[in-house]
């Protein structure tokens, strides 16, 4: 029992220490930028227009037309305008002095202060949703182009819809609508889907089969793997409809590697730490360590932490057996419990360090955040 009690203490101490590590710390904006506010109203259209010109000359190469080319500095993110409103001085500072270690040059020599504020005003507008008209409600599949089939001898019509834009390696929804002569939906019949390939002549490769519902619509998901034009064929008995599907190649860098499998996240991410831990500290120092479980309370990280805890609690248990070896009344001038006590301390210290290292580790790089 005492071992378990000690073990519980070890775990409690470890978790408390994990929380204690989380310390606030944020990059301070230096003078003369500290505290500066945007002299222009954020929604000033003429300032935005002026800023846009400068942006397209100097910034678009790295940041992209929408400002989202660098995922760490995504100006089109929804929370970005708010961030700019709360600390305009920070953004003016970075724009003026640059971040050479990240490849961001300083602009204070080439742009006047007004121009810099105009540009920030434009950046602010990137995060605001564009005022495009919404499609009217009640449209079942807004981005689907239905293509009718030539009417068949049975008189039924097969319509096939595919999305206007589709990307390689992303699932596409294929829709086929079957109607009879009177234009009423035919339900409960199987529609076959194919994909036309040129392999020593035209051939049809089966994608799958789906049954029509009460509205006569059969739906099938399909993940194309090749870019370019793709002919999708839907077939019901002798009726065949061919629809072209234009597959856009994903924008891929020359060399891309992703570290590891994307593990499912069973819950909402747990993050305990200052908000500033999402960003680099001043002087481009690594962000503050914070406690983070990517998959929430049910995070897969627990599995690894559990194994480490199991190993180190076993060590603790073993050293504790050694600790119990000395007979107490025999201890005289030399404390024979000295060595096992040191051992217990070391095991606790190292075990806690490893667990902390893993819990706080995934957060220490901002592009993961």
């Amino acid at each position: 029992m005492r071992t378990r009690l000690l073990l519980a203490i070890v775990l409690a101490v470890g978790l408390l220490a994990a929380l204690a590590v989380v310390v606030a710390g944020q990059g301070e904006v230096p003078a003369p930028y500290a505290g500066l506010k945007n002299p222009l109203p954020w929604d000033d259209a003429s300032a935005q227009e002026a800023g846009k010109k400068v942006y397209q000359q100097s910034c678009v190469g790295c940041h992209g037309a929408k400002g989202d080319a660098l995922p760490q500095f995504n100006f089109s993110a929804a929370d970005h305008p708010k961030d700019m409103e709360t600390r305009p001085d920070y953004f003016l500072w970075v724009l003026s002095e640059g971040r050479l270690s990240k490849g961001m040059p300083p602009f204070k020599a080439s742009l006047s202060e007004t121009q810099r504020w105009q540009m920030l005003t434009y950046l602010w507008s990137l995060g605001k949703p564009a005022a495009t008209p919404k499609p009217p409600d009640g449209t079942p599949q807004p981005d689907v182009t239905p293509v009718p089939a030539p009417p068949s001898e049975e008189g039924a019509t097969l319509w096939v819809g595919t999305p206007r834009e589709a990307e390689v390696n992303k699932a596409v929804k294929l829709l086929a609508t079957l109607q009879d002569k009177q234009g009423k939906p035919i339900k409960g019949v199987a529609i076959e889907f194919f994909w036309k390939v040129d392999f020593f002549g035209d051939r049809l490769l089966a994608i799958g089969e789906a049954e029509t519902d009460s509205q006569g619509i059969a739906t099938l998901e399909f993940t194309p793997r090749e870019a370019g034009r793709l002919d999708v064929v839907a077939r019901y008995k002798a009726i065949e409809t061919v629809v072209p599907l234009n597959m856009k190649a994903p924008e891929e860098p020359l060399y891309e590697t992703e570290v590891g499998i994307k593990l499912p996240a069973p819950g909402k991410e747990v993050f305990i730490g200052p908000e500033s831990a999402h960003r680099l500290r001043a002087g481009d120092l690594a962000p503050m360590t914070a406690l983070r479980l990517p998959g929430g309370i049910g995070s897969w990280l627990w599995l690894f932490i559990g194994v480490i805890m199991l190993i180190w609690s076993t060590y603790f248990r073993v050293v504790f057996q050694v600790f119990r070896i000395p007979v107490r009344r025999e201890i005289r001038d030399i404390d024979t419990r000295f060595l096992p006590t040191i051992g217990l301390g070391m095991v606790m210290l190292l075990g806690t360090m490893l667990v902390l290292m893993i819990i706080t580790g995934p957060f220490s790089h901002m592009h993961l955040g």
Partner: protein
């Protein structure tokens, strides 16, 4: 009370503890020369710190060199120990008792030296803390920290546990006559061991838990070392079999290391009675099994790659088989696999020298094999450039020599502080085995048990224990 002048256990204690109380001039000279080599290695490291990694042969293309080769090698021989001793303990192989202590000692010393190597490889070693503070869980280097820390701690505990009764013995035998410092050290190390049944129960329990725990941890260590390589897309490293390949390679070179250490201390510490031909033969056969598995994996690894022959792999195989690294590779195949296998299988000549020659060849060849894993893969160009070149500088060779000398030095010092044979376990084993034999002899001959024991111990003294047991 036994009547004969010296019982088996008394002689065991005398023989094993003798080198710990007497230090010869040869030993001192040996230690001094090792210290000189280590000192030279430290000087070379100072030069490296002073002038940066430019002092080494590592460059932008081949950015890993001898240090990483040594890292894999030392982590490899560290498997000797703990894994083999734990497996023998778990399977209750009776012959293990005189071997385990040395094996466990090799582990602790080798992993300490091995873990230093990546630190030496760093241009700014003081930044290693940042790996812990800001390390990313996605990096195999972080996994390395976890598994090596766990393994080092675990094998220290596992080495220490069975030495407790021996430390107690030394506290009682040497302590009172030796200087107070020694007495203090042994008293602290013996943690008040009196050999009571309660203490025995606790110790056996602890050893039992550790023997099982340490096996998966040991396997994880070398698997993770292999992941450092195989989590990249480099030719030769981009392999699914690397985990088990490294583990088997580690066991292989580990057993070879035990054999060498056993032979050395058998000679200088006069342990002939306890480390018999049987131990060398058994370990030699284990080594042969590891050799064949390693041969099989090597064959499979290169055949599957050579059959498909992607461009980068083709470059790699060319440099390994016929190109600039061919000498290394074929030395490994001939001296590390073919000759040792023949030496062990053919059984020509005395057992111990045969096994030792095989073990020495294997250890040299396995170091070279690690070189052939690390360096050529980095030389192969992944972009349209020329092949990378790597020539270790004197700094790297000196630090490597210093590391090997340091390994031997720490081992030599340990061998003066810790009995190299687990006295209580060997004595226990000896008590357990002859008992039924005496009983049957009493029944068969009608002599008194004391007489038979006296006869047996006389025979043991004349021929060596193992022969009598056989």
């Amino acid at each position: 009370m036994r009547t004969r002048a010296e019982s088996y256990e008394q002689r065991l204690e005398r023989v094993v503890l003798n080198p710990l109380s007497q230090t010869t001039r040869g030993y001192k000279l040996f230690v001094l020369s090792l210290l000189a080599v280590v000192g030279w290695g430290l000087y070379a490291y100072y030069i490296q710190l002073r002038y940066g990694l430019g002092a080494t042969g590592m460059r932008d293309v081949v950015m890993w060199g001898l240090y990483l080769v040594n890292f894999v090698f030392f982590i490899g021989i560290s498997h000797a120990g703990t894994l083999i001793s734990a497996i023998l303990r778990v399977t209750q192989a009776g012959w293990r008792t005189p071997v385990t202590r040395m094996a466990e000692l090799i582990t602790v010393v080798a992993i300490s030296i091995g873990a230093l190597m990546p630190l030496i490889d760093l241009g700014r070693p003081e930044r290693v803390w940042e790996l812990i503070a800001f390390g990313r869980f996605q990096s195999p280097l972080l996994w390395d920290i976890v598994s090596i820390t766990s393994y080092l701690t675990g094998s220290l505990i596992y080495l220490y546990l069975p030495t407790i009764p021996d430390f107690a013995l030394m506290r009682d035998r040497l302590g009172y006559y030796a200087n107070p410092v020694k007495r203090l050290i042994y008293t602290v190390l013996a943690v008040g061991w009196r050999g009571t049944p309660e203490q025995h129960r606790r110790l056996e329990k602890a050893i039992g838990i550790m023997a099982i725990t340490i096996i998966p941890i040991a396997i994880s260590v070398h698997t993770v070392v292999s992941y450092v390589f195989s989590m990249t897309l480099r030719p030769g490293w981009n392999s699914t079999v690397f985990g088990i390949y490294f583990v088997i390679g580690a066991i292989f070179s580990g057993i070879a290391s035990i054999l060498i250490v056993m032979a050395i201390f058998r000679k200088f510490y006069h342990l002939e009675e306890y480390l018999t031909e049987r131990h060398f033969r058994n370990l030699g056969y284990l080594m042969l099994v590891a050799l064949f598995i390693y041969l099989y994996l090597t064959f499979g690894e290169y055949l599957t790659v050579a059959y498909k022959m992607q461009v980068e792999e083709k470059h790699l195989l060319e440099t390994l088989f016929v190109g600039s690294n061919a000498l290394w590779f074929w030395f490994f195949v001939i001296a590390g696999l073919v000759i040792p296998a023949l030496i062990i299988i053919l059984r020509k000549g005395p057992v111990i020298p045969r096994m030792v020659i095989a073990a020495v060849l294997i250890n040299i060849a396995m170091w070279i094999k690690r070189f052939a894993i690390v360096i050529p893969s980095l030389q192969v160009p992944l972009m349209p450039f020329d092949f990378g070149a790597y020539y270790p500088t004197w700094v790297e060779w000196s630090i490597t020599a210093g590391a090997f000398a340091g390994f031997i030095l720490i081992f030599a010092i340990f061998a003066k502080l810790v009995p190299l044979i687990s006295i209580w376990e060997v004595a226990e084993g000896a008590r357990e085995t002859p008992q039924p034999r005496v009983a049957t002899l009493v029944e068969q001959s009608g002599m008194k048990p004391e007489e038979i024991e006296a006869l047996l111990s006389k025979a043991v003294a004349e021929k060596g224990r193992s022969r009598v047991e056989q």
